[in-house]
């Protein structure tokens, strides 16, 4: 499976965020998107996630499921955690597992993987920022999708959770997945390609 972007451009309001972005990423590879605040890292990820439109250029996918678009095969972990405060930890995860994938097969494993199994029945409204982030990460484990789009995924995580996230990312790459990660800190992956965006 391979994603390639050619001459991607992004316009928000009337301001050009970036243009002529090219990259290509195959199974088992990670791409770290670097750049100062406002350079368009999040916008680039949201374009790949299909929630933002490009103003120029195109994204193409080779391999993978030909019936599905890139967003339908991707996980997007953005700044917002997509959790409902009145639903419990397990209910939040079970909903996304059912909505995004085949069903809640491995919820217990996914909660275990992010260390939230002991508080599975707590309403998500009581979680700390780091715990909320870990619950979002559990989504990536519960539903298998080959493309991971991570926007500052490690923010708010403590050292142990960051180490666990790196482990999950390594496992995902070893299983033939792709990772696009916007980040300021080093990703912690050995052979990540880098894409540097300049401030517009």
């Amino acid at each position: 499976m391979r994603i390639s972007a050619s001459n991607l451009g992004c316009l928000r309001g009337s301001r050009e965020i970036f243009r002529n972005i090219n990259f290509s990423l195959s199974s088992g590879q990670a791409l770290a998107v670097l750049g100062p605040n406002g350079a368009g890292k999040s916008s680039l990820l949201r374009i790949v996630a299909g929630v933002l439109r490009t103003t120029s250029g195109r994204l193409s996918l080779e391999g993978g499921d030909p019936e599905l678009t890139i967003p339908e095969q991707a996980h997007y972990l953005g700044h917002l955690d997509a959790l409902k405060p009145s639903l419990s930890v397990a209910e939040n995860l079970a909903f996304w597992a059912r909505y995004l994938g085949p069903g809640p097969g491995v919820l217990a494993d996914a909660l275990e993987a992010v260390g939230l199994a002991p508080i599975r029945d707590l309403p998500a409204g009581y979680l700390s920022a780091g715990q909320r982030r870990r619950l979002s990460i559990a989504r990536l484990v519960a539903v298998r999708r080959p493309i991971w789009l991570l926007d500052e995924a490690a923010s708010a995580l403590d050292q142990a959770a960051q180490a666990r996230l790196i482990e999950l990312m390594r496992g995902h790459l070893a299983g033939g997945g792709l990772i696009l990660a916007a980040t300021h800190a080093p990703l912690g992956l050995d052979q990540a390609q880098e894409l540097r965006l300049e401030a517009a």
Partner: protein, 222 residues
């Protein structure tokens, strides 16, 4: 399919939990209708004559109450981005949310209407007619309201924008809903004539609403 069932169940669960909109709609309906006799005075004949219209207006306002949060809440917490990335078509996902909204807001109004009809001195026939027209008409209110709720996300304005956008569009539903209720009581047209038009409006809005709302969301989410 299971994705849509999951979305429907989540929205219904959110609506009945603390902070949800299900109970608020019925309470608002109760308050509005209970205020009317204070405003009009205790003229029983007048209340009975205006009763169907009052119940319909109350139900109309109450069903719009929870609508502005329908997509805005999902937009603010990032859920809408993920809903867009699901494998279910967005139109059907929007439809599932609409169904959840109707089941938790519209249907309780239909159930509460006969009780509130008693407050307004309506007879059994009038109560039955109003409940039946509300059952047929409230899905139309939800589906027309969907469009406004989706536009509120696109325009990044919440609050009163949804009622202001949506209320004018619901005028035909209101006209034929009240006309059918009155026809059942006093004639001269048979109940069936305005009622069929009401059902037609509902069916048309059930088809148009989800498509229009999905289109607005696709443009609105950034």
């Amino acid at each position: 399919m299971s994705a849509l069932v999951a979305l429907l169940r989540r929205d219904m669960r959110l609506a009945v939990r603390i902070g949800g909109g299900a109970l608020m709609g019925v309470l608002f309906f109760l308050i509005v209708v209970a205020m009317v006799p204070f405003a009009l005075g205790p003229d029983l004949a007048l209340l009975a004559r205006t009763g169907p219209a009052i119940l319909w207006l109350g139900a109309l306002l109450a069903s719009l109450l929870a609508l502005d949060r329908l997509f805005a809440a999902d937009h603010e917490d990032g859920s809408l981005d993920l809903i867009l990335m699901g494998r279910a078509p967005l139109e059907l996902a929007v439809g599932a949310k609409a169904l959840a909204h109707w089941l938790t807001t519209g249907l309780p109004l239909v159930v509460a209407a006969p009780l509130l009809g008693l407050f307004l001195n309506l007879g059994p026939a009038a109560i039955g007619a109003v409940a039946l027209t509300l059952l047929a008409g409230t899905p139309a209110l939800t589906c027309i309201g969907l469009i406004g709720a989706a536009l509120a996300v696109a325009l990044r304005r919440g609050g009163l924008l949804v009622p202001v956008l949506v209320l004018p569009l619901t005028i035909p539903v209101l006209i034929f809903g009240v006309a059918a209720s009155n026809a059942a009581l006093a004639g001269p047209v048979p109940f069936g004539t305005p009622f069929t038009v009401l059902v037609a409006l509902t069916l048309a809005s059930m088809v148009l609403g989800p498509f229009a709302a999905a289109a607005a969301l696709r443009h609105g989410v950034e």
